[in-house]
Amino acid sequence: MSPGLLRYAGRRVLQAVPLLLGILTLTFVLMHLAPGDPTATYLTDNVSPEVVEQTRARLGLDQPVPVQYVKWITAFATGDFGRSYVGGEPEVRQVIGAALPNTLLLGLVSLVLIFGVGCLIGVIQAVRQYSVSDTTLTIGSLALYSMPGFWLGLMLQIAVSSGWWPDALALPVSGMIDVRAHSSMTPMQQWLDVARHLVLPTVALGLASAAGIARYMRGEMLEVIHQDYVRTARAKGLSERRVIFRHALRNALIPIVSLLGLYLPALIGGSVVIEKVFAWPGMGLLLYDSVYARDYPVVMAATFLFGALVVAGNLVSDLLYAAVDPRIRHE
């Protein structure tokens, strides 16, 4: 890392702090907009007023709002998200800790699909501009781009469950592991098991965004292909493959890196619905279950962490961009 990049990284990390504080505040405001207070759903109707008071005191709800706010911020800053309202009151940190890696796994694999497939299709289209395959792919990506991801997931489930789906390609339609067989598998088989469960959610989550990237990549490639240095590379007698992949693609990829930050919120937001469709035990499913259970501490912590994930993702995307394009650091 060059000193310039390091300075830029430091500045960007500092900029993320007020953003995280803002997300915390937004979550706090949302919670206090809710009518009544959490004890109303937390306790059943037939408890004595004393118990209600005790519970309010235990949850800190009897204190003035500014005090609650400061406590909330300091607690979250130290990673203390409080206790869940349900099922033996486990620490929210543990509940989240169990779900977060699964969401990250799904998200990262989807990102690879989005950028890998998206860029590949975009390049193919640009190289064969106005051909039949270009037009077909353009219409196909526009259709995919307009589809609700969760609905695509449901259609995939119907397709995989139908009689004409080849047995050789059988795929699980829900969950993350084969619950009955997983514990008796070798580590290699366990990985494979998770990988097979990942296929459909990844496709449902990533395909629409991949189509978006493909549309963008096609335009970028078309612009780059007509640059002088690409013509020079051709004139030198380099093979077409080398011209496209070594000279054109590398430069077209630079602006694509900045799209990472643009697609990340959609990807993370989309994972909420996709996890519900495929019963994938991640943050999205946790948020959904907690909403129905009125488990406010988990809802709040999950909302905050979704925001923090986006902030972190944007940070990484900006740093990547600065690393591949030195001009950015000196703005």
């Binding site: 007020p18 953003l19 803002g22 997300i23 937004l26 979550t27 949302l30 919670m31 907009l33 809710a34 009518p35 526009l142 259709a143 781009y145 307009s146 589809m147 609700p148 969760f150 609905w151 695509l152 449901l154 259609m155 489930q157 119907i158 469950s161 139908s162 919120p265 959609a266 993370i268 937001g269 989309g270 909420v272 619905v273 519900k276 948020l287 959904y288 909403v291 009125r294 406010y296 809802v299 709040m300 999950a302 909302t303 979704f306 925001g307 986006v310 902030v311 944007n314």
Partner: protein, 289 residues
């Protein structure tokens, strides 16, 4: 581009060129045709295909046939009529929420760009903040804490959809505010609000229209996702997302309940995207092919 007043005398005014380019854009025309047909069907559906509210159990879960083109759901409703009823809610939410979003985005962007300085810095940080929380997460949390209703969905979709417009308008205002016609208006002593509305904002109209068109598609997708989770539109109202939600338990034997609303959503969103792309190509000479 000069002021946004249509110059009727000259046939080659920017607006005439844009209109001709838009009308010659076949993808945009296709999208517009889909939207017009859908809009008419949706508006007229109480007259041409009203939803019979009585549950017809003898007729439930019928596959698509001559009597029920798109089949029936598990309460015996004709899917075609149900989808039209749902289209009214889905489209209404799309249009209203984007109305809120572009109003809010235009105000914030105009104030930030025109005032500059601290106000600008603060407003742009708020934009960053709202861009950091995924829309669907904020929707779910808001609906969970308050109570799901069409009004709340519209408001929250509006409150989570304005940031792009704000950035767009701010950028345009910054670009336009030092132009001669604005300086002239200022030299004439016009009030800032008049300058903003009469001399600056007309210049940002076109990119905002494009953003609004694309925004409607996004809002429809967000509403569908929310309703699919059971946290959006509530019965007896219906929307495309809610129909998918209601069909998913019978998905494997009655695929048409789940499949058709999704196809309709994709078709509608695609039509809005096509029209949006066409408008952009027509209004922005640099994007023209």
């Amino acid at each position: 581009m000069s002021e946004a007043s249509p110059a009727r005398s000259s046939p080659a005014s920017p607006w005439a060129i844009a209109r001709r380019r838009f009308l010659g854009h076949w993808q945009a025309m296709l999208g517009l045709a889909v939207l017009i047909v859908l809009g008419l069907l949706s508006l007229l559906s109480p007259l041409i295909a009203p939803l019979d509210p009585s549950v017809d159990l003898a007729n439930r879960l019928q596959a698509p046939s001559a009597a029920n083109w798109l089949g029936t759901d598990d309460a015996g409703y004709d899917m075609f009529r149900l989808l039209l009823a749902g289209s009214r809610v889905s489209l209404l939410i799309g249009f209203l929420s984007v109305g809120i979003a572009i109003t809010l985005g235009t105000v914030v962007g105009a104030v930030a760009g025109y005032a500059g300085g601290r106000a600008d810095a603060l407003l742009m940080r708020i934009v960053d903040l709202f861009l950091s929380v995924p829309r669907l997460v904020l929707l779910i949390t808001a609906v969970a804490l308050l109570r799901p209703s069409i009004a709340l969905i519209v408001i929250v979709l509006g409150l989570t959809g304005w940031m792009g417009v704000a950035r767009l308008v701010r950028g345009q205002v910054l670009a336009v505010r030092e132009r001669e016609h604005v300086l002239a208006a200022r030299a004439l002593g016009y009030r800032p609000l008049r300058i903003l509305f009469r001399h600056i904002l007309p210049n940002v109209l076109t990119p905002v229209i494009v953003a609004a068109t694309l925004g409607i598609g996004n809002a429809i997708l967000a509403e569908a996702a929310l309703s699919y989770l059971g946290l959006g539109v509530q019965p007896p109202d219906t929307s495309w997302g809610l129909i998918i939600f209601s069909g998913q338990d019978r998905m494997l034997d009655a695929w048409w309940i789940t499949a058709f609303p999704g196809i309709l959503i994709a078709l509608t969103v695609m039509a809005f995207n096509l029209v949006g792309d066409g408008l952009r190509d027509a209004l922005d000479p640099r994007h023209a092919q």
